[in-house]
């Protein structure tokens, strides 16, 4: 069972994440689906015509610039961490929020571990799919690892030096 943290709580997962090689064949009309970027780029028209919710996911080597003009169509943008040490999705998340003004859910998927959640939150993620073998309840605590930060980021656009008393 997938464990989803949304905001600062564990919630029931309703979305289906489709693998990278998904085609349109037999695709559900009503389910909430997160489709791979390639499928969106090839079949945007058909995907928009569905009744169910639509999200897209990008791997760490894919660039958010590819969907910058399409963001209104997505309730979820999921960014993949193929391994937790691949930091490219942090930049993608910040660009989505800070540059392209995306207001929907930005979800961390893949090798998502508790000790990275605080960093992810700072970069604009607001949903995290925790690995099934981990305790998601305990992972929530790490969203509060630090009560103060130095530099500006998505969650706190004012650096500490502009807020220091």
């Amino acid at each position: 069972m997938q464990q989803l943290i949304k905001g600062e709580a564990l919630v029931r997962e309703t979305w289906h994440l489709l693998p990278a090689d998904t085609t349109l064949d037999g695709m559900s009309n009503c389910d909430d689906l997160i489709v791979p970027l390639a499928l969106w780029l090839d079949h945007a028209h058909a995907l928009k015509a569905r009744d169910g919710g639509l999200g897209v996911w990008l791997n760490s080597d894919e660039e958010v610039e590819a969907i910058a003009d399409d963001l209104e169509h997505f309730q979820v943008v999921a960014l993949n961490f193929p391994v937790f040490s691949d930091g490219r999705s942090y930049s993608n998340a910040r660009l989505l929020r800070d540059r392209y003004g995306y207001k929907g859910e930005v979800r961390a998927i893949g090798d998502v571990l508790r000790d990275q959640l605080f960093l992810m939150k700072r970069c604009g993620f607001d949903a995290y799919v925790i690995r099934e073998d981990r305790n998601a309840e305990e992972a929530l605590q790490s969203l509060k690892d630090f009560s103060e930060v130095y530099q500006a980021a998505t969650d706190q656009p004012q650096p500490l030096f502009r807020r220091r008393g």
Binding site: Y90, R122, C123, F146, S147, V149, Y150, Q151, R162
Partner: protein, 552 residues
């Protein structure tokens, strides 16, 4: 020096709590080795050949006597009684137990120290000139900028998992003692014609497997934009730096592949989106930080101290020390002093707990309670009255700090090597010692003059062998330890990567090889030339002929 306020203190204390919990989960089996690895590395904790190694940050090399005493305490309580100062102006303990590390970090937090980002693929400790703030040739004090960069880089959420480690150095003097040309980013603080402060920005320098000197991508970046511009550089690197091969992952490879001009365009394009945003530095913040680095309460002295000059005349030993270990100061009647951590037969950069306490004592007595760690692995007392130099020299001698060899052949930069480090191909400390023993005649050593000899035990180049006038690199040859020699490297304003002399040597040949290299220089030099000048004039061939003529 910079003193934490409640914000800085809280961030460091929360880090201790976070790492304590991470360590607990690791020991309880809730975190696997690969998962714990980046967490411990970002706290400077390596698992080494015999025990974990803990690297503690000394931001831009500045440390108070109180902090130095805390290091002595940690050396006694948690280590085998000594510490090792590294080429990144940091300090390392070689024998702490993993389960003690959270307690060590808590002790450090009590004196405003930490181990944050001293390893891992993130932004590391920013380094600078060990004579910052006191050098006679300084244009702008780099320390406030280093502190501003330290705060910006600490737990930067976007750049905690870069393709590879990332090192920034800042220089504000005419000479470049911070080696900015061999850092991922080198910043030279400059003033333009209107007297405004800005930065000349170099990117893509570095040592390691593919040594390179950095390229200029901005001739004058106004200071207000420093952090947004650094953000732009890091974002381009984080997104486009190679992640498929760790040996091609440093920013220098990306800069070279794109060309510096194209890389600069990418940074510029990225920067246009964030320039003038909230990250733009303010006069207030610069003033707040700079106030921490205001000059200590110097006495008004007329000029050089007569008694000091007379003592130099009278005592050759004192004069030798003054020639090498005492440095010009911008305030009349004062001097900066290097405490040598390079006596023969001690691992370069090592100090025991007694010496750490003694160094703190000397700082309190002679230099306003502050010290600096140099990237050459020595300690500096930056603000000593000339009138006190003789007393300081005598006290330093008692502690083994007064070897008069700063900048000379025996002031060797040396990594821990195969005695400690699990990455090393070969031992480095015994080679340093053998060379120091060969060059033990002080008059001869002083006659040879300025000569940087740097030793690394592997091509990760922690001993900066590429930029030594003489560089020595440990290599593995069919399971045996061999040493490759390079000549002509430089780390200053004219940074250059040394060229390889030829086939490598066995350990026992090394003292003779260095002697032959030095002999060629002594025979060929003109009266005004140092080793590097002679090398540049006559080239590699005479050295090669001499060294290999005898062995083959």
């Amino acid at each position: 020096m910079y003193i934490y306020d409640e914000y800085d203190q809280r961030i460091v204390e929360e880090r201790v709590a976070q790492f304590r919990d991470q360590t607990r989960r690791y020991l309880a089996g809730e975190l696997t080795d690969p998962e714990f690895l980046p967490l411990r590395l970002q706290n400077g904790l390596y698992v080494q050949r015999y025990a974990p190694m803990l690297r503690i940050a000394i931001p831009y090399g500045l440390i108070s006597s109180t902090q130095m005493r805390k290091l002595a305490f940690i050396a006694r309580e948690y280590d085998k009684g000594y510490a090792h100062f590294s080429t990144r102006q940091n300090v390392q303990f070689n024998w702490p137990a993993l389960e003690d590390v959270p307690d060590i970090l808590a002790h450090l937090a009590e004196v405003q120290m930490h181990a944050i980002q001293t390893s891992g693929n993130c932004i590391r400790n920013t380094t600078t000139d060990q004579f910052a703030g006191v050098a006679a040739d300084e244009l702008v004090d780099p320390r406030p900028w280093c502190e501003i960069i330290r705060q910006w880089s600490t737990f930067h959420p976007e750049f905690a998992f870069l393709p590879r480690k990332f090192k920034i150095a800042v220089n504000g003097a005419t000479e470049d003692r911070a080696a900015i040309g061999v850092h991922d980013i080198g910043l030279n603080v400059v003033k333009n014609d209107a007297g405004e402060i800005g930065f000349r920005v170099l990117v893509g320098g570095g040592l390691g497997r593919t040594p390179m000197v950095g390229s200029e991508i901005n001739a004058f970046l106004p200071w207000q934009h420093l952090l947004s511009y650094l953000d732009a550089i890091l974002r381009v690197y984080n997104r486009y730096g190679r992640r498929d091969n760790k040996y091609k992952a440093r920013i220098k490879i990306l800069v070279k592949a794109l060309t510096p001009a194209v890389f600069a365009e990418r940074v510029e394009a990225e920067w246009q989106h964030t320039k003038d945003g909230p990250t733009t530095l303010t006069e207030d913040e610069l003033k707040r930080v700079a106030t921490h680095f205001s000059a200590p309460a110097y006495e008004t002295l007329r000029g050089d101290d007569d008694a000091y000059l007379a003592q130099r005349q009278a005592d050759k030993g004192f004069n030798n020390w003054a020639l090498r270990n005492v440095h010009a100061h911008k305030v009349p009647g004062y001097a900066a002093v290097t405490l040598s951590l390079k006596p023969t037969a001690v691992a370069p950069g090592d100090a025991n707990d007694r010496q750490l306490d003694a160094a703190a004592e000397l700082a309190d007595r002679f230099s306003f309670g502050e010290l600096r760690v140099t990237h050459q692995q020595n300690l500096v007392l930056a603000d000593v009255r000339q009138a006190d130099l003789h007393a300081l020299w005598q006290a330093a001698k008692e502690q083994g700090f007064a070897t008069p060899n700063i900048g000379l052949l025996t002031d060797i930069i040396c990594c821990p090597g195969g005695d400690f480090c699990s990455l090393a191909n070969a031992k480095s400390i015994p080679i340093a010692e053998a060379i120091q023993r060969t060059f033990d005649d002080l008059d001869y050593l002083h006659d040879i003059g300025d000569l940087d000899l740097n030793i690394s035990g592997c091509m990760n180049a922690c001993g900066h062998h590429h930029v030594g006038h003489i560089g020595i690199l440990g290599v593995d040859k069919k399971g045996a330890e061999f040493y490759q020699v390079s000549l002509g490297g430089e780390s200053g304003r004219n940074a250059a990567i040394g060229k390889i002399l030829g086939p490598s040597f066995a350990a026992e040949e090394m003292p003779a090889v260095v002697t032959k290299v030095v002999d060629v220089y002594l025979e060929k030099r003109t009266p005004e030339e140092n080793f590097i000048d002679t090398f540049q004039r006559i080239g590699m061939d005479p050295f090669k002929e001499r060294v290999y003529a005898a062995t083959h």
